[in-house]
């Protein structure tokens, strides 16, 4: 029962991934070729909404959270090499398969064998990172 809110939030997220067409390979290529405002509009309005939502929640949200706890937003660990290099490697994959992790999960739900293969690859890639982590610059 305590997981129900997460199930519903995930459901909404997967639903929007499809309805926004952010899970579309075509939309991602269109974005990387600067042929439409669609994906840029999604990203910018999402960030603007997230930013205002977090500000409001920080100011008024303490009494409103489901468990009554104060809102804590953990800082990302400092550094730059891992963020730039890791992001670049992820981007190389994204620019070919047109799916980032959220859409991979949503398309698996649509019964796409290609997305299932991407999920398998992503698990292997994640494991490979864990295997070589100590030898990588961070």
């Amino acid at each position: 029962m305590k997981f129900l809110p997460y199930l519903l939030a995930g459901l909404a997220f997967g639903f929007v991934m499809i309805k926004s067409e952010a899970a579309s390979w075509y939309r991602i290529m269109e974005m990387f070729y600067f042929q439409s405002f669609h994906m840029y509009g999604i990203m910018m309005s999402a960030i603007a909404t997230g930013l205002s939502g977090v500000l409001l929640l920080k100011r008024y949200g303490r009494l409103l959270t489901l468990d009554g706890a104060a809102i804590v937003i953990p800082n990302k660990a400092p550094g730059w090499i891992n963020y730039v290099l890791g992001g670049f490697i992820f981007g190389l994959g994204w620019g070919v398969i047109g799916l980032c992790p959220g859409p991979i999960f949503a398309l698996v739900g649509m019964g796409s064998i290609g997305a299932l293969a991407a999920l398998g690859g992503a698990l292997v890639g994640t494991w490979l990172y864990g295997f070589v982590k100590k030898r990588l610059p961070h």
Partner: protein, 190 residues
């Protein structure tokens, strides 16, 4: 009722879907002080599969503490089923003229609107390309500690410099691959 159904079947414009995606950040904080992000589930799934006491340090932790996140991912799979199958868009995807021209030049049909049939369906090409690309996505997102949701949405929404660096890296990698690799891939394989 018909209007609601039509709206559930139709794709949503960016100014509706973008804010809904952005709402995930305060929503997850509100539900239980969680940072919105999806790619860490790939790590939890590796941790689930790895036997205890042996294997890679990176996966030696109690994944059960992250069950909420795995449940979120399960929700995303169900949401994909609902939006893509039950409430499937009956119309072809409304791409820009420039994009339609480009895909026509690449000989890529628009069928389905999500992945080209050659990548979506069960073909040796889809499994090979999607698996290889998936490896880069999985490796890169863990190396960068996040993907489009955790960095571009959550990280930028909470004004974190590391996330800005990650987003710049992601976009540079995506531009490079989409321009230098993807068109050639289709001309070679198809």
């Amino acid at each position: 009722m018909d209007t609601v159904l039509a709206w559930l079947h139709a794709p949503w414009p960016w100014y509706v879907s973008g804010p809904l995606i952005g709402l995930m950040v305060p929503l997850m904080l509100w539900i239980g002080n969680r940072s919105f992000g999806i790619s860490s589930n790939l790590r939890h799934m590796c941790a689930m599969a790895q036997p205890k006491a042996i294997g890679v340090d990176f996966f030696q932790y109690d994944w059960r503490e992250h069950s909420w996140s795995l449940v979120f991912a399960l929700g995303a799979v169900s949401g994909g089923f609902l939006a893509g199958i039950v409430f499937a868009n009956p119309e072809p995807i409304d791409l820009s003229i420039a994009a339609l021209t480009m895909f026509s030049n690449w000989n890529v049909p628009i069928a389905g609107g999500f992945l080209p049939p050659v990548l979506f369906d069960f073909t040796w090409l889809s499994v090979l390309v999607m698996f290889a690309g998936g490896i880069l996505v999985g490796f890169g997102t863990r190396y960068a500690s996040g993907c489009t949701s955790g960095h571009a949405i959550t990280g930028l929404s909470t004004l974190q410099l590391p996330s800005l660096l990650a987003v710049l890296g992601i976009f540079a990698g995506g531009l490079a691959a989409a321009h230098l690799v993807t068109p050639h891939l289709f001309s070679i394989f198809w």
